[in-house]
């Protein structure tokens, strides 16, 4: 969002004393659950009649479902869809008012008669989904990349000349097939087949040349730094725009994937720096002496130590992802621009300040969620 990143946001911010050092992230799912029980286009849980309905993450539902015949059902307090318009009303209704049908609108309605609370919940779902998936994806992948970078910096991976050549060839092949997969020239099955074959060939070569002399060092450790140096000057919002233009109409999953990819270089470089200090500890040497494999050391001995820094990084990523998405939706670009997301609600509400309630609650929600993600996962020293 156009601001340089904090190395460790936990050092930057301190909560009020009573909240210090406590993990506040559990508040988010609790509030979400509560909101979904209060307002939901579907039953919260409905079993019977040969089907099971679970009313979570249903932010795409246009209309509330019709009459239902369930054996067991938990009904929400209000069944309103965020997209349900009510054109009978002349003016947008302020908070805590009833429309002609006697339906209560807790946070009021917009000019089309859509319920603001339902829109707020739908935007909350979108923000949660994006924050969760982007931070999990980025955190996991960049942790693996960072830890292996730090590990192979200390214990270099040596290969023979043939093997090095094969590595380069396989890298080009996989990059090419991924590009073909993106344009639709290759199916996902063929892509996974190619990747599987590549892994098999590389491990086979490694197994065959087990006792051969290995001379060349694979520059695995430098890869993260190179990627970070390369992507650091590229502005992320403009890069996001370029990607959205190139891939025309991206879906929500596409946007999440792009947000993950944009964050990977910074994440892997930051986490490699964090992992380097653990790699030099004694227990790693002992594990090496006991003959444990590199994979086992990386997964069992280093990764558990990384939890605090990964948590901080994931929180920062989540808040940045939510803010980026809302900025795009505010401009009406991207997949969430047409949905009831917080960004599009803010755009709608700010176009006419006489219905201030349309934009106020999304703004408050955005600030609260961004702050919770950014500082809620803070680990006190």
């Amino acid at each position: 969002m156009g601001r340089p990143e904090a190395e460790n946001p936990g050092d930057l911010m301190v909560w009020p004393r009573s909240l210090r050092g406590k993990n506040l992230l559990w508040i988010v799912p609790l509030i979400y659950l509560l909101l979904k029980i209060i307002i939901n286009p579907q039953p919260v849980i409905g079993i019977g009649g040969g089907k099971v309905t679970i009313g979570f993450f249903n932010f795409r539902d246009d209309q509330p479902a019709g009459a239902d015949d369930y054996d067991f059902v938990i009904r929400p307090v209000m069944r309103i869809s965020p997209y349900e318009t009510n054109l009978d009303i002349r003016n947008p209704l302020p908070p805590l008012s009833r429309d002609g049908r006697g339906m209560l609108h807790v946070l009021g309605t917009d000019h089309l008669g859509r319920d603001v609370l339902a829109g707020f919940v739908s935007g909350f779902e979108l923000a949660l989904l994006i924050a969760l998936l982007v931070s999990l994806g980025t955190g996991f992948v960049s942790m693996i990349m960072g830890v292996q970078g730090a590990y192979f910096a200390r214990f270099p991976l040596k290969v023979s000349a043939v093997e090095a050549g094969m590595w380069i060839l396989v890298a080009i092949l996989i990059a090419l097939s991924f590009g073909w997969f993106l344009i639709g020239a290759l199916s996902i099955i063929s892509l996974s087949g190619i990747i599987l074959c590549a892994v098999l060939v590389l491990s086979g070569i490694r197994y065959v040349s087990k006792n051969k002399k290995r001379k060349y060092r694979l520059p695995v450790n430098a890869l993260n730094r190179q990627a970070q140096e390369f992507f650091q000057p590229v502005p992320d919002l403009i890069l996001l725009l370029v990607l959205i233009t190139v891939f025309d109409q991206i879906s929500l999953w596409g946007l999440i994937l792009i947000l993950i990819l944009l964050r990977l270089p910074a994440g892997s470089w930051y986490l490699q720096g964090q992992a380097t200090q653990f790699i030099h500890q004694k227990h790693i040497d002992q594990a090496r002496t006991m003959g444990f494999s590199g994979t086992r050391i990386i997964f069992r001995h280093v990764m558990p130590l990384m939890a605090p820094s990964v948590r901080v990084f994931m929180g920062l990523t989540a808040s940045r992802a939510v803010l980026s998405e809302s900025a795009l939706a505010f401009l009406g670009i991207g997949p969430t621009g047409g949905m009831m997301s917080w960004g599009s609600m803010i755009r709608l509400g700010l176009s006419d300040l006489t219905m201030w309630w349309v934009s106020l609650f999304p703004v408050l929600g955005l600030v609260a969620v961004a702050m919770l993600f950014m500082y809620g996962s803070r680990v006190d020293k």
Partner: protein, 421 residues
């Protein structure tokens, strides 16, 4: 050497965006072809790249309908060209519209070559004996004849390498020779640069002032101060912008705070003035946008200063200064600030290029024709070449400022001259 590396980096960035774009076709001069109910949109292929599969026509990437695209990909893999596929789609649409031929509606979606040929044979045989309906059978005969005339599946694949038919090269050269576009880019760059200068000044001075105010405030209300700063730090800048526009640029809510010119007023000036003219004569148009941009940034800077200052307060030299009778503001403003300013130099160095892309949203709210506005318009008009140029420009500035801030840091702290930073 440094300059060479910088240029190499910028070139690499441009090339990587090009590689990315080359996989998916760009579109200049879009056309629309109506194949009955479905509109197949495609453009002139801009990027021909030899890494694409031989049979792949980059116009396919711009087909909007997913099912049609799937069929196109499948058929072209079996040897059909894009143009053949388009005319095939038109014929299939015509057939499906003829009465009594609903069973052939699936011709539009079949993905197997043999199935299509079978269906066409079947269509020929299904003509009723005798001329019961001469118009209809004449139509079917004509369509079948045309379908056979399309010459399905007998093409020779073409490969486009760099050369005279490389449209990317042509569009790149035409961009460079298009004076209007270059002017647009230069003007946008100038405006964003000036806006960034203003925002930089506001945010650095504001952030430092806030930090000094915080450290001299009473300990009891510091948590409140800090919470406000935290909220300001994450506040989305576009909300602030729109609210400020409503209150400070019109007398609708209050006539007393109508201090700034409204959004869009910058466009009325014509916008072909020089750097200094914009800076000193029209600068007041840019003050409100710059102020709003600087609000979250100054909160972030203040929080950074504060975390450094609070650690520094415990050091013995501060106690010594205090015992010598210096005032708190003098201790903090002169001695503490100086000692903790080293890491901030790098931060300030990164701040300016971050601003160049960070004013993106503000420019769109205020309709200032800077880099952000231009990139938004380029997205709307699918002008990929302009977007690439903007990316390269901003990346170049980022690299220059990064290097520059490292130089400044070495000048400020001579110990670093022996180290690599």
């Amino acid at each position: 050497m440094g300059l060479m590396r910088m240029m190499l980096k910028v070139t690499l960035i441009v090339l990587s965006v090009y590689f990315l774009a080359s996989f998916v076709s760009g579109r200049v001069g879009e056309d629309e072809v109506e194949t009955g109910g479905d509109v197949v949109r495609f453009g002139k292929p801009v990027f021909y790249f030899s890494l694409l599969p031989r049979w792949y026509d980059s116009r396919l990437a711009t087909v909007r309908n997913g099912i049609l695209k799937k069929q196109g990909i499948a058929l072209m893999r079996q040897g059909m060209t894009f143009d053949q596929w388009l005319s095939y789609q038109q014929k299939a649409e015509e057939i499906s519209k003829l009465p009594g031929l609903a069973e052939f509606a699936s011709l539009k979606y079949i993905t197997e070559k043999n199935d299509i040929l079978k269906q066409i044979d079947h269509l020929e045989q299904s003509l009723p004996p005798g001329d019961i309906d001469p118009v209809r059978s004449g139509k079917i005969k004509a369509i079948v004849a045309q379908m056979n005339g399309i010459g399905l599946f007998d093409r020779i694949p073409e490969v486009h390498f760099w050369g005279s038919d490389n449209v990317f090269q042509q569009s790149f050269i035409s961009f460079l020779s298009d004076g209007q576009k270059l002017d647009q880019l230069a003007m946008a760059f100038r405006l964003s640069f000036i806006l960034s200068i203003f925002a930089f000044i506001f945010s650095t001075t504001g952030g430092t002032g806030l930090a000094l105010w915080y450290i001299s405030s009473k300990a009891g209300i510091r948590w409140l101060f800090r919470t406000v700063l935290q909220i300001l730090y994450v506040l989305p800048v576009f909300c602030l912008a729109v609210i400020a526009v409503q209150f400070f640029t019109s007398s609708y809510y209050s006539p007393y705070i109508n201090w700034f010119p409204g959004p869009g007023s910058f466009l009325l000036l014509g916008g072909s003035d020089s750097f200094w003219q914009i800076m000193f004569e029209q600068g007041h148009y840019l003050i409100l946008p710059a102020l709003i941009t600087s609000v979250p940034l100054s909160a972030g800077i203040a929080l950074r200063w504060i975390s450094g200052m609070e650690d520094e307060q415990k050091k013995p030299y501060v106690t010594t200064l205090r015992s010598k009778g210096l005032s708190t503001s003098r201790i903090n403003g002169k001695h503490v600030l100086k000692n903790i300013s080293l890491p901030m130099i790098i931060y300030f160095g990164l701040l300016f290029p971050a601003l160049m892309s960070g004013v993106f949203l503000i420019e769109n709210v205020f309709a200032i024709g800077g880099i952000g506005r231009l990139s938004y318009q380029s997205v709307r008009h699918d002008d990929l070449m302009m977007l690439m140029m903007i990316t390269a420009l901003v990346a170049g500035i980022n690299i220059v400022f990064n290097k520059g801030s490292r130089r400044v840091m070495r000048w400020a702290d001579p110990r670093l001259k022996t180290q690599v930073i």
